[in-house]
């Protein structure tokens, strides 16, 4: 081998290792965060922590039951609003790939996807909070639903595009009405893809804070009334993290751990679903 060839091969090898090194550096911040949240949050986790509401400022003890229940409820209502609409819109987009309406609708979905979450918060404040005269959990849910929609729509559309048209044609040829073909054949066939989209969307909004600042607002008490202000995990973390109280920092770390587990579990489950029931044709 001549010198030049050696040099070229060496460059190639060095570059490969360099790329590998850079690529795996991303694990450092992730593990640093997980480690830190675990270290500080794990000692907080207890039955008391998840079943009690916060104590008055500066007093020791208390938990995050209000935020935990609030987050679950706000996200659940958001999902109830966004999932049916999102799936049906996804069906429309995949069924009418070349229509003008689908083109504009798709663009609108892109616009919604690009909208910063804080802007959605502002808009919902003017749409719902101000006219109704009250901050409310439902306004937060609607804000989060708007953030969910693009993800659900896109994943539905992409999944259904993969299904062969013979499936639909066979259904129609058997005399099934169109809606039955969609609801009983097409959607069930693509359910794993749709479901993973839904779960990713839920994971995404579960950690969202910005749209809740001006909508769900926060509440020191445990409440299930969606027409009233409600606390949520991300809001609690934001408020407590920037405060000077060590007690609150601890609560915030505990809440972070729960939120992190929730979000990561959703992501991992999604992975398992897609691996097990992959849409294959």
């Amino acid at each position: 081998m001549n010198k030049r060839l050696q040099l070229r091969l060496a460059t190639s090898k060095v570059f490969e290792y360099f790329i590998m090194l850079l690529a795996f550096l991303i694990t450092i911040p992730l593990f640093a965060i997980i480690y830190y949240v675990l270290k500080t949050g794990l000692s907080k986790l207890s039955w008391h922590f998840i079943t009690n509401i916060p104590k008055p400022v500066g007093e020791i003890g208390g938990g995050i039951a209000n935020a935990l229940a609030g987050s679950l409820l706000i996200v659940l209502v958001a999902a109830v609003i966004a999932v049916p609409i999102g799936i049906l819109c996804g069906v429309y987009l995949s069924e009418n790939r070349n229509s003008k309406l689908a083109y504009w609708s798709r663009l609108a979905v892109d616009v919604m996807q690009g909208t910063p979450s804080i802007v959605i918060g502002i808009v919902i404040y003017f749409w719902i909070v101000k006219p109704s005269g009250s901050f409310s959990a439902i306004s937060g849910s609607i804000a989060l639903a708007i953030m969910m929609l693009p993800i659900v729509i896109r994943s539905t559309e992409e999944t259904l595009k993969l299904l062969p048209s013979s499936l639909k044609e066979a259904g129609l040829a058997l005399g099934l009405p169109y809606h039955k073909v969609i609801l009983r054949v097409i959607i069930p066939c693509g359910i794993s893809g749709i479901l993973s989209g839904v779960m990713l969307a839920v994971a995404r909004i579960a950690g969202e804070t910005a749209p809740l600042l001006f909508t769900a607002f926060g509440n020191p008490y445990l409440t299930t009334n969606v027409l009233k202000p409600m606390q949520s995990l991300p809001l609690l973390i934001f408020n407590y993290a920037t405060s000077p109280y060590d007690e609150w920092h601890d609560l915030a770390w505990g809440a972070s751990l729960i939120l992190l587990i929730w979000v990561l579990l959703l992501n991992i489950t999604t992975k398992l679903i897609t691996r097990k029931w992959k849409v294959q044709f």
């Binding site: 008055p56 049916p84 009233k228």
Partner: protein, 367 residues
């Protein structure tokens, strides 16, 4: 065929009905007594929503937690800053606001209806700092404070600070100024004070709830500023006494009008607040004449509409609100000192009572 039709409808309606069910079913969730449930089918449950001052938040969170034990009423108070409290009251999204600065002319005009200012307590705004090497309590004069917040004094071992603190070894640390990022009555008290004592401050940044700071970092709420000070070596900022005391943060003695260096405390705040309140209770306590009074203190006012019968509010709701505030200025006062707030003097309570009594529901007295 009928079945299919039903199924479609079911599917389409599933989302909506589930939503409706959750809306309706959850509505009663907060009601503890069955009687209430019958009375309040709408959104009127046993809660009140307040927002505003972070200055008074440590006290309010204690008061409302106690009040909840006594009466079962849940008061949700969000400390979003005085400016936020006033705005949300203007938008009628809260039952009451709380501010450490009375409504200014523009705010009064915008809100459009008479608003009652009910004094709750008074508190001291302290200058808290983070200097681990200094164990003595620093003494600050009005000019030093103004110059620090104007960005003219940049380092802790500045001759001006050294002159006021003879015998204290000051580190050569850069000063990090911490201020509020949100609209704040605490800022109003502090900047009103600076405008009174420093001519340059009076012309340039001026006094207000959210001003254009010449220097420094912004934190959200008293909590955020206290957090910044606690985390940043060399930081100085203004926060309510309760935050500094609860977090064991150092705070300075301030030279008052009489020339004495005063440590902020309940006693010195009370000394500054020991004046006859005007009938509307809107008064500034800064730069007090009292020889033993702490110069940077102020009242915090709960804000409610004088006419409570707006936006279809039920009389029950207005009753609960007035009763809550009445409790605050009477039974609630005993919690003030423990949290380093100065309770209202008997004469101030009398003024507060008469203001609260002037509240009406559909023209009739609300009390």
């Amino acid at each position: 065929m009928n079945l299919i039709g039903l199924k479609i409808k079911n599917f389409l309606l599933a989302g909506l009905s589930f939503m409706a069910i959750s809306l309706v079913a959850c509505n009663g969730g907060d009601n503890n007594t069955p009687g209430q449930m019958a009375n309040n089918a709408s959104s009127d449950d046993n809660t009140l929503l307040g927002a505003g001052s972070t200055f008074v938040y440590p006290l309010f969170s204690k008061l409302f937690s106690e009040y909840n034990k006594v009466t079962g009423l849940r008061v949700n108070y969000q400390s979003i800053g005085s400016g936020g409290g006033i705005l949300q009251l203007t938008n009628k999204t809260v039952d009451f606001g709380d501010s450490d600065a009375p409504l200014n002319e523009e705010q009064t005009q915008k809100i459009g209806a008479p608003v009652l200012h009910i004094p709750m307590c008074s508190g001291a705004v302290v200058l808290s700092y983070n200097l681990s090497s200094v164990t003595d309590t620093l003494k600050l004069t009005p000019d030093i404070i103004a110059n620090i917040f104007l960005g003219k004094i940049k380092s802790w071992n500045d001759p001006q600070i050294a002159a006021a603190n003879k015998g204290v070894t000051l580190p050569n640390t850069k000063i990090v100024v911490a201020h509020r990022s949100d609209g704040s009555g605490t800022t109003n008290i502090f900047t009103t004070y600076l405008s009174k004592v420093n001519a340059e401050w009076n012309t340039k940044p001026g006094a207000g709830s959210s001003i254009n700071w010449p220097v420094g970092l912004g934190g959200k709420g008293n909590e955020g500023v206290a957090g910044l000070i606690k985390q940043t070596p060399g930081a100085i900022g203004y926060i309510e006494l309760a935050y500094a005391a609860q977090n064991k943060m150092a705070f300075a003695k301030i030279q008052n009008k009489a020339g004495n260096f005063i440590t902020p405390s309940v006693t010195t705040t009370s000394a500054a607040g020991n004046i006859q309140l005007p009938a509307d209770a809107k008064v500034s306590l800064t730069n007090t004449d009292a020889a033993d009074g702490y110069p940077i203190s102020g009242f915090t006012w709960a804000l409610i509409y004088k006419e409570q019968g707006y936006n279809n509010r039920s009389q029950d709701r207005s009753n609960k609100l007035v009763k809550l505030l009445w409790w605050n200025i009477h039974e609630g006062q005993k919690y003030c000192e423990g949290l380093n707030y100065a309770p209202l003097s008997p004469s101030a309570v009398a003024v507060a009572e008469s203001i609260l009594k002037s509240a009406t529901y559909k023209g009739k007295p609300a009390m």
